[in-house]
């Protein structure tokens, strides 16, 4: 959820703010957090009450905003964390921090670490797949967030695009028929075998295998991504966008097919959550596009018996301020970047389902209990996948690197 969805309009219910609506945030509260330069010329910082109604759902009694009715419907599968905090205050470094453990680009992303640490269970598909919602506007995405950093390039995230060429260079060049290509591949193999006889170089055998895999990928990738065989009730589950390439719903459905085929890590990006203004309408639009498909993914994985060993995570790169950015009108108000607290949810493998973890203060401005730093979150994520975050290291330029750098504690409270 790139751009940072407002926790105050989604999962962190702050009814006290109604009493403070339009009143200045106490300076004793405001000064506890760094604010972005985008509100530096504001002379007044009135608090804004949640723009939407909240209700309690499920056995956990979790408070969820009316914008997310489908997510509310699967709340007993979720562990909602309301006490995340980060160090970054702008999008690109913050996304990089969540994805790679460092605000500066150049480190491997989570998926690259998992590909490196756990390997692939399906050699005919990339271990780390990236699916982006198209035409969303908002902050641009940086492919560095799914890069392999200093790890070898087989660990980089492979963007699976909409349309006829889902993986770059996957299709035979124009005018080359499948028969022709097969003949060419046979010739390549025979030549490589000759060269192997001459040079006795183990690298050549590996190359021969990679060419065969490339050929199989030409079939397996389109097959994995082909939604034609999905029945209508599945499309209905994921919602109205599910038949339109490039939507979040379409990508959630693709993600399920990739998960079924043992792709190790699937990253979906949906931009457009950066509501500095017009939050009221913007949040409704964004929720409409993402709520039903995200919940459908949980339901669909569960009905296939996949949820127990698949970890699903929903979240952005930071939170949004409880005070107003811009003019305080219902349609016009916005909320600025806020690293001090934000919400995510996790579901599936090893997660304590039906819980809410951590809390913020009455203003929704600071973590009040059980704070989860981004590195703690990453340590927990790796733990859930069977990895000790302090042991998964890669030596580069003279030191050992980890996803969690030199930080991170596993958050025991979210484990089943």
């Amino acid at each position: 959820m790139s751009g940072a969805p407002s926790q105050l309009e989604s999962f962190d219910y702050k009814p006290e703010l109604a009493k403070w609506h339009g009143k200045e945030i106490p300076s004793s509260i405001k000064s506890t957090q760094r604010n972005s330069g985008m509100v530096s010329d504001q002379s007044s910082f009135p608090l804004v009450q949640p723009a939407f109604d909240f209700r309690q759902y499920g056995q956990s009694g979790a408070w969820i905003s009316e914008l997310f009715p489908y997510t509310a419907g699967v709340v007993d599968e979720l562990c909602i964390i309301n006490s995340l905090y980060t160090e970054a205050i702008n999008h690109t470094p913050a996304v990089s921090f969540v994805q790679t453990g460092s605000q500066q680009p150049g480190r491997p992303g989570i998926g690259a670490w998992l590909s490196y640490g756990l390997g692939s269970e399906n050699e005919n598909l990339p271990a780390f797949a990236v699916l982006n919602s198209l035409g969303k506007g908002g902050q641009p995405l940086s492919p560095a967030a799914w890069g392999c950093g200093f790890l070898p390039s087989q660990h980089q995230g492979v963007q699976l695009r909409g349309g006829a060429d889902p993986v770059l260079y996957l299709n035979n060049s124009e005018g080359v028929s499948a028969t022709e290509r097969r003949g060419q591949l046979d010739l390549i193999r025979e030549l490589n075998e000759q060269q192997d006889d001459r040079w006795n170089d183990p690298e050549i055998q590996a190359r021969i295998a990679q060419y065969e895999m490339a050929f199989r990928m030409q079939t397996s990738v389109p097959e994995a991504l082909n939604l034609d065989e999905e029945p209508d009730y599945i499309y209905d589950l994921y919602g109205p966008g599910a038949r339109t390439p490039g939507t979040f719903a379409f990508n959630c459905l693709r993600a399920r097919r990739l998960a079924e085929r043992d792709v190790r890590f699937i990253q979906l990006y949906h931009t457009g959550w950066d509501h500095h203004g017009a939050l009221y309408g913007g949040m409704q639009d964004q929720a409409r596009m993402t709520d039903q498909p995200a919940a459908a993914l949980i339901t669909d994985l569960k009905q296939r018996g996949l949820l127990e060993d698949t970890l699903v995570i929903w979240g952005g790169e930071f939170g949004r301020t409880s005070f107003c950015q811009g003019r305080l009108t219902k349609q016009g108000f916005g909320r600025d970047h806020h690293p001090g607290c934000f919400s995510m949810w996790m579901a599936g493998a090893g997660v304590k389902a039906g819980t809410v973890y951590g809390a913020t203060d009455a203003f929704g401005y600071n973590v009040a209990s059980n704070g989860v730093h981004v590195h703690d979150f990453q340590a927990t994520l790796l733990h859930l996948l069977g990895i000790d975050h302090e042991a998964l290291v890669y030596k580069h330029q003279g030191r050992r690197y980890r996803l969690t750098d030199v930080h991170g504690e596993v958050v025991r409270g979210v484990l089943a």
Partner: protein, 309 residues
């Protein structure tokens, strides 16, 4: 925090490691006097090392990027010292150093090796055989362009925009002020890969697939991976089919027999003549398909094309 600085910090060297003279600039220039032939030679191998790394797959110290306590020990410390002294005495002549290394018997050895030797020394640390490694992203493309006669050898000038799958940058942002990949123009199509534009957040995908770093941070040593996506680039990037077609056209001058065409094409692409067995395979494919470009394109997908032997 970056917006609340406290104590000013400057570059320096711990006193216990090397006492710094005030007159020396506090940067790499300050380190240079150490290489004047009077001091320890421990510092210049650092400069020389990547050179040797380029030529021999890895340097005499495997961790080219790290000469410190966390790095590997040199495999041939005496040779390293000798080369360092030689380099200083040559007047820091980089070209002469390259010549010395590339004309050495060690470098000119065959890279073929018996299984027993490979088993004893899989990484060739002892240099008992010639170096052998997959070329870098830039070298592979340049090699295809050079072999086919397409390579534009002009030096200098602004970066250029060769083939890149359409729409790639547009998927990252739909803002109207986004930076768009300019249309391919004939005059920048075949420049050396060194000149390919490097957008830091989205470097050319074919380069990335062959382990080019993303330029966000300094990178001294690249991994050399071996992946199916690399096969797909060599098979389907139009750069390579175009180079194969250009080479086929150049060899179809009406004066060469098919055997001569294939011999010459193979030599251009791999730097060596095909064996009889290879030639037979090539001839068979060529005579059946009638497609010289397709045959040469297949050669570009074999290890002798993208591997230094």
């Amino acid at each position: 925090m970056y917006d609340a600085p406290t104590t000013p910090v400057e570059p320096g060297v711990p006193e216990a490691v090397y006492p710094w003279r005030d007159a020396w600039p506090r940067n790499r220039l300050g380190l240079a006097p150490l290489g004047d032939g009077t001091g320890s030679s421990a510092h210049h191998p650092r400069f020389r090392q990547p050179r040797l790394g380029t030529a021999l797959r890895s340097g005499l110290v495997e961790t080219t990027e790290d000469f410190g306590s966390q790095g590997s020990l040199p495999s041939h410390p005496a040779l390293l010292d000798w080369l360092a002294q030689w380099f200083v005495q040559s007047g820091w002549d980089v070209k002469a150093l390259h010549r010395l290394i590339l004309t050495s018997e060690t470098y000119r050895q065959q890279s073929a090796a018996a299984a027993a030797l490979r088993e004893r020394d899989p990484n060739n640390e002892l240099l008992a055989r010639g170096p052998s490694f997959r070329l870098s992203a830039e070298m592979i493309r340049d090699n295809a362009l050079a072999a086919s006669g397409l390579l534009d050898r002009r030096v200098g000038g602004p970066s250029v925009y060769p083939y890149q799958p359409a729409g790639l940058w547009d998927e990252l942002s739909d803002k109207d002020w986004r930076y768009q990949y300019p249309e391919l123009t004939p005059e920048n199509r075949y420049r050396r890969s060194l000149y390919t534009y490097r957008k830091r957040s989205a470097i050319h995908p074919a380069q990335l697939i062959f382990d080019a770093p993303d330029n966000s941070v300094c990178s001294v040593r690249r991994p050399r991976s071996n992946t199916p996506l690399q096969a797909l680039v060599l098979l389907n990037d139009p750069q390579y089919s175009e180079a194969a077609a250009a080479l086929a056209t150049a060899l179809s001058d009406g004066r060469r027999t098919p055997t001569e065409q294939l011999r010459a094409g193979f030599l251009r692409l791999t730097g060596q003549s095909p064996t009889e067995a290879e030639l037979a395979l090539l001839l068979d494919y060529y005579s059946t398909s009638g497609n010289l470009a397709g045959t040469l394109h297949a050669v570009m997908n074999t290890s002798d094309f993208y591997t230094l032997r």
